[in-house]
Structures are given as structure tokens and as C-alpha cells.
Amino acid sequence: MAPSHVQEPSADRRLSTLVRHLLPSSPRRTAAAAAEDSSATLESSPTMASQGCSVFAGLAQAPEDPILGVTVAFNKDPSPNKVNLGVGAYRTEEGKPLVLNVVRRAEQMLVNDPTRYKEYLPITGLADFNKLSAKLIFGADSPAIQENRVATVQCLSGTGSLRVGGEFLARHYHEHTIYIPQPTWGNHVKVFTLSGLTVKTYRYYDPATRGLDLKGFLEDLSSAPTGAIVLLHACAHNPTGVDPTIEEWEQIRQLMRSKSMLPFFDSAYQGFASGSLDKDAQSVRMFVADGGELLMAQSYAKNMGLYGERVGALSIVCGSADVAGRVESQLKLVTRPMISSPPLHGASIVATILKDSEMYHEWTVELKAMADRIISMRQQLFDALKARGTPGDWSHIIKQIGMFTFTGLNSEQVAFMRQEYHIYMTSDGRISMAGLNAKNVNQLADAIHAAVTQLK
């Protein structure tokens, strides 16, 4: 890849240095970089002569993140009728973001407390927060907690918890393959790949039934190696909204334990799926109850509406208290060179709420109200499509659980709905029910109807 024309010597030297860095044959180039930069060419650009060249000359423009990019596109749309069903962030009936009353109360208390400081948290984070988070997901009477077998570190919401868990496993677990459901949240693959794990998939969603492909699920895990890591959505599977039943979970658990597979739970919707914190934790608690080990990535982004505060925790349930102590010490070695210690504000809000029984109760009420509104929107959308006689079976809308519905629409239909109806969703046909309300549900139903009848 020679430069297209020769410039002054210093530019030459820069270019040749850059060429060494970017040539595909360079042994240290990662596969990821090679794949992304295949379209990068090394040409002199108009800027080089005038402003000196850049060592970044060959760097390609990265595409927008597919999920967050929906909001970027939405923001650019000037239409007054636009509807954002992209990101999973709760909206009120009026279409507004919501900060829970109990969260505002907690914040008031914190900001007005003159004895509070902003000193560095310990590397593992706010101790109260960690203990309370473990109790929330595993249950206060969990044997794992009572036996001190849980190592918990505060992390940056769900993403941070998954990343720290992935990095830990890449260093300390003998199996470096993680099995993720097909489909799954778009960011899972990148998180685990950059952690140093190999990502494989197991069948999960059955497009024919728009439900769970349990047979495929169990078959794929059966043929996976002993000891493999398996990512499980604790509830309200993202993007499909399809969850195993308790009986199905039991089958999954038995198979996994018989193959010594390591469960890695992603819990982003506890309390948000059914409206009950305990019900939404049942799958996790089943696995803890059998005495086995597991990883748990917890997020408070949705269930406490703390999205931008980035609050979450990674818990590892270990075989013994001694192992948990050692595991915790190694988790610190992962987080210290990543963020040093986690942010205080959001974790303080959570701890304040969880440790006060009255505030905790207020939270459960507000949480249930959010979950109920979403369940009601599911019904309204289903009814609206039925009223229009939209072809197809839309019962999956009311059967699926949580914030998202996997509509079954294809990317062409999705693009059509964006262009003609200013409805924004991810190209896999996932819609965030949280973005729906009585005012826009009819617009959505019209759009789906048009897309389904006009494009096949």
C-alpha cells in the first residue's frame, strides 16, 4: 500500500511508520481491528500537506452503535410525530423520562447531609450497596450470603459488571468460551470478546412460534464442552421478551449442572418484568439453591431509573467463603486498572433506598407501577392490531415479558416504518414498550399494519 504521491521526507517517514502499523500482515493486529479497518486505505489527504500529517490518517470512521445510534437518528428527525422505540429507557404515559420519587427523596437526603464526603470508595465500591444488592437478587435468607460465599464488587451498571466478570473469567477460569443466546442484547458479543473470551451461541428464539426454542437450547448446551460458561438472561430476555417457564428453567439448570457449566446471569430487569422483585429473581435463586457457583451481573438502570448514574454490581457465588475472599481480591485487580474505584452517587442512592424499609416499600410501589404500565401497553398494542385486522398472529406481544417486544418485523419493514411513519426501533424489529403510550400506540399500529401489508 504505497502512498499515492511522494511528499516531503518527514511525511514519508510518517507514512511508512503508519503503514507498518496498519498492514494486515502485522502480527500483532487484532482480528477485530483487521475486520474493521479493511476499508481503510492509506492515501495522502488534502490535510496532510497543509497541516502536517496525522498518525490517524488510516483510521476509519466507526459506524454508530446500532442501539444507541437509533436515538442519534431519532434526535436528528425534525418530524413532530416521531416516536422513539429504540433504547430501553422507561417513559411515562406522557412520553417523558421518569425519575422515581423515592430516588429524588434519597438524593435530597444525600445532598443535604453535611457529614457526607466524596472520598474515593474502596476498589470494590460502597460496602453497604454491595451487601444490599446481593440480598436483593439472591434473597436475604440466601444460604450463599449467610455462608459468606458471595464476592460482590460495585460496577458500572450492567455493562461494567459483564465486562469485569468476563475479564475475571478470561484470567481465572479454565474454559474461555461463553455461550450466549441467539439473539441477545447487541453489546454482549463485544463485551465478552474484548474481555478475552470466545463467544458462541445457543439457540433461543423460535421465529415460528415467537417463543422459546427449548429443544434447540438444550441441544446446543448438550453439545457444548463441559464447564463452558453460559450467559442467561435472568428475566425479561432482551430483545425477545421470551422467558423460560419455571419448569423449563429447571430443565436448563439440571443440564447445566450435569455438565459443570458455569452460569453467568445478566439481571437488568429485576422487578421490572413482572412487577415483583422476588418473582423476577426466581431463576437465579434456583441455581443458587442447588449449591453451585455462578456469576451475576446486576443493573439498577431500569428498575430504579438510574440509567445515567451507571449503578450495578457483579456478584460471584463461590463454593466456599475462602474462595470468595480470594475471588474478590482478584476482581479488584481487574477493576483497579479500568476505573480505580466506582462512582459514588448512584450507589449511594440505591443503598439509601434499600436499607430503609419505608423507602424500599415506596420503591416497590413505583416499580410495580412502571411494570404495570408496560403490561397495559402490550395489551393496547395487541388490541389496536386486532382492531385493524393486521394479518398475522400478534399474541406474542402480550405473551412476551419486560420492556421489549420482538415484533417479528424484518429490517426492510423497520426501515419503511422509520421513513414513512417516523417510528424508530432497532433493525432486528425490537420495540421498547416503554416508549409507547395511548397517544402513539395507534400510530405504531398503523405503521405495523402498513409495513406488514405493503412489504412482505
Binding site: H21, A62, G158, H172, R257, L306, S329, Q330, P337, M338
Partner: protein, 411 residues
Amino acid sequence: MMALAVDVTRFEGVPMAPPDPILGVSEAFKADTNDLKLNLGVGAYRTEELQPYVLNVVKKAEKLMLEKGENKEYLPIEGLAAFNKATAELLFGADNPVIKDGRVATLQSLSGTGSLRLAAAFIQRYFPEAKVLISSPTWGNHKNIFNDARVPWSEYRYYDPKTVGLDFEGMIADIEAAPEGSFVLLHGCAHNPTGIDPTPEQWEKIADVIQEKKHMPFFDVAYQGFASGSLDEDAFSVRLFVKRGLEVFVAQSYSKNLGLYAERIGAINVVCSAPEVADRVKSQLKRLARPMYSNPPIHGARIVANVVGDPTMFGEWKQEMEEMAGRIKNVRQKLYDSLSAKDKSGKDWSYILRQIGMFSYTGLNKTQSDNMTDKWHVYMTKDGRISLAGLSLAKCDYLADAIIDSFHNVN
């Protein structure tokens, strides 16, 4: 439900990790019950009463934020726009051509550590042959960050124990000897752990050799405003390199200068040769941030944006920062005076006065530092670094006694 027999643990082989050398000091301090104990470990500012300090202007900003009642929606991957604008302007100067030309890629990050880690991930992906040169010594976590990001590093000479000063010739020689296109990690001001900074003339020469070898300057700016008391003065080194038209990486932190330690607020800035280059660099940094934490935390960013965005609050911040830097300078002077008065050996302690910032390299070695802790209950890191931020005027005499004893009577 039938419980299956399960293996006791798959993590039996996981060893207990050693405690963090810096943060571990505070833990040991807490456990000490002696009345005379002094914590000169972590670089966190303390008042003369040795209490932690939340800036008044920060409290004001937080109250204002409560009143505003803004939502808690996800920030974009690159962070709060108002914060990114403010932070770049603070660093480079609002009227700097690189800002006016749109040549700076800025991402809000998790304080200094997060900024360095993002940059390291970027270097690993796009400059896989390059290595980072770090000063000997440097902040303990630098090596961990580059190791975990799988970026090779080597050291350039920096600290001269004979003079307790800068080994300038060694520094220049090592930077010159490094392969072309290396990344050179420089402390913008108030070098951690030594407190020894190059002079302006030396900075020019450092820039010369970096420019000549086509190295990439990579600044770690954790103390802007905290070293001298002046934001602009402390940005001198960064602005010198930028003025030469070089592309530069700069990691920033608001932990110390705004006392926002636990809120984890900082930024990674990359000065590029052209705006469209900055756009591409920013897009690739975002691609690295998303699988690490998706988007950064809002609270600290809003505090900074509110403080910097309001002229009154900005003025108040500058004043409080001057007071913090002033207290440290006073304590530094007092320590020197105490040492000079008490030490009858004629040893020249003036290197302490030439150092700047939160830390001082006492010149004590590991055994002597252990003596400081074991005998005198003075907690510090094993490299002889003390945090002056944790020292009060009232304790200077005691500390001087401890240092003199450790220096002369141990090893």
C-alpha cells in the same frame, strides 16, 4: 426439586491477590489504634484539621442540580456535551486554535484511570506495534493499566536519587533511544510520586526530542490548578506541545482539583491534525468505551459543567483551588523549616521546596519508609512518597522527627 451434587468450586486455583500498594496504605492506617498516627498515603486533600474536604462550590452545584431536577437518562457514549466542551477549554484554553478548529476528540471518562485505560485500548488496537514510555518512577497504576490493555511499555529515566531531582540527561537519552512513533507518557504537572517537574526550558527540549522522533506525547493531567494554584500555569506543558502543531493525547481528572474523587470524572482528549480526523478518532474511542461501560456517569460531569458554566461559581472554584494549593505550599515550607531546624547533620533538604504538588519524594528508601510506619505510625508508600495533602502545619515537627530518624538511623 432435586439438588444435584455439584463441584465445590471451579475457582480453587485462584490465588489471593496482594493488596493495592497505595490504597492498601489507608486500610493499614485505619487499623492502627495509635494516637500519633498520620496518614500520608493516598493523594486525597485534607484540611488543616486533617478532615476530608468537599468544595463549597461543589455543594452549591449539587444543590442547584437538585433544584433543576434534571432526568437521569443515559448520556451518549462520549459523555455530557457541556462537560466535554468545558473540559477541553479548561485544558487547552478556550481560544486555542485546536478548539476553534474542532481538532480535539474529547470523551468523558472515568476520571484519570478511565481516560488512560481508554487511550491504552485505542493504542493497542490502532498502534499494535507501538510501546508506551513511562517515567521511572511513575504512579503505580500506570503499569497495571498498560499491562491489562496489553500495551507494551518501557521506562525512561526520570528520578535521580543522588540529587533527589530530575535526571534530565537520562530522560532525554531514553526518549531519544526509543523506537520512532513511541507514546511518551508525561505528567502535565506535579509529577506523581516525586513532585519533581521539568522547568519550562526542559519542557521545550523534551518537546524537541519527541518531535524529532515522531513520538506521540501522552499527558496525564491529574492536578491542573492544584499544583501552582493556577489552571493556566499548570497547563503550560500541554499547551507548549499543542502549540507546536503536534498530535497529543491528554488524560484529565477532576478528582483532586474539584475534590470529586469518588464521582470518577475526567476526560480523554486527542488533539488531531484535522477536524475530520478528530471525528474518526472519537468514533473509535466510542467503540472501545461501549463494551467497557456503555456510557459514563452523569453526576460528576454535571457538577463540573455547572461550576465551569457559571462565572460566579467558576470564580469561587478558582479561589478554593488556590486555597488548597496554598495550604499545601505552606505545609511544604513548614516541613522544610522543621527539617532544617532539627537536623543537625547539615543535610540539604531544599529539594523538598523545589518539588510541587500533592506529593513529596522524601528520598527515604523502603526500609526507612517501613521505619516511618512501624516506629512512628506515619503511613506512606514504600517508595518514600508522602502526601502533603494529608499533613497539617501542627504535625510538621513530628513528621520531621520521624524523617530525620528514619534517614539517619535506619539502613
